[in-house]
C-alpha cells in the first residue's frame, strides 16, 4: 500500500477524533457545531483523498474524488441550516459569549410580523 495514503488515513482519523472530543467537551450547540462538523468533514475528506491516491485514475478513485466536493457542499450547508434553525428555534448563546449582532435583526423581523397580524 501507498505510504502517502496511509499518512492521509491517519491524519483523517486524528481529525475525526478531535471533532468528536469537541462534540463531547464544548459547552453549547453553536460551539459544538464549530468543532464537530468541520473537523469531521475535513477528516473524512482526507480519508477519501487517500483512497483516490491509492487507486489512482480508476472508477473507484474517481468516485472518491467526486465524493469530496459533494461532501464539502452538503456538510457545510447542513451545518449552516442547523445553526440558523437552532437560533430561530430559540436556543440561547453561551453565557460567556462576547457579542451578538444577529439578535437585533431577528427581533426586528419578528416584531414587524407581529405588528402586521
Amino acid at each position: 500500500m501507498n505510504t502517502i495514503s496511509i499518512i492521509l488515513f491517519i491524519v483523517g482519523a486524528a481529525f475525526d477524533l478531535f471533532g468528536c472530543i469537541g462534540l463531547l467537551r464544548l459547552p453549547d450547540v453553536y460551539n459544538k457545531l464549530q468543532s464537530a462538523t468541520k473537523s469531521v468533514t475535513l477528516g473524512t475528506c482526507s480519508i477519501l483523498l487517500g483512497l483516490f491516491i491509492h487507486y489512482g485514475f480508476t472508477a473507484v478513485g474517481l468516485k472518491a474524488l467526486i465524493a469530496i466536493p459533494i461532501l464539502f457542499f452538503t456538510s457545510t450547508v447542513a451545518a449552516h441550516a442547523l445553526v440558523r434553525g437552532s437560533y430561530l428555534f430559540g436556543v440561547k448563546l453561551w453565557d460567556k459569549s462576547v457579542i451578538d449582532d444577529y439578535k437585533k435583526v431577528v427581533q426586528i423581523s419578528t416584531e414587524g410580523k407581529e405588528v402586521e397580524k
Binding site: 500500500m1 496511509i6 488515513f9 491517519i10 483523517g12 482519523a13 475525526d16 477524533l17 471533532g19 468528536c20 462534540l23 463531547l24 450547540v29 459544538k32 457545531l33 464537530a36 462538523t37 469531521v40 468533514t41 477528516g43 473524512t44 480519508i47 477519501l48 483512497l51 491509492h54 472508477a59 473507484v60 468516485k63 472518491a64 467526486i66 465524493a67 459533494i70 461532501l71 452538503t74 456538510s75 450547508v77 447542513a78 451545518a79 441550516a81 442547523l82 440558523r84 434553525g85 437552532s86 430561530l88 428555534f89 436556543v91
Partner: protein
Amino acid sequence: MLDILIYILMGLGFLCFIRVVIGPTMVDRMVAIDIFGILVVGICALLVLKSGRTFLIDVAIAWIMLSFIGTITLAKYLTGKKLDE
C-alpha cells in the same frame, strides 16, 4: 493497520451516540446525528480498501446525499415547524 483505524472510527460513532443519549436539548442530538452520518462515510471508504469490494464507495456517496437531506429536514423543522413555507 486498517483494522485499527476502522475500530477507532466505530468508537467515535459510539461517542456520538453518547451525545445523543445525554444531550440536554433536542438540537444537540441533531448535531450528533449529523456527525454520525459523516463518520459512516469515512468507515465506508476504509472498508473499500479492507474488503476490496468496490461498490462500497457507491454506498458512501448515497449516504452523503441521504444524510444531507435528513439534516435539512430537521433544520426545516427547527426554523418554522411547517413544511410548506
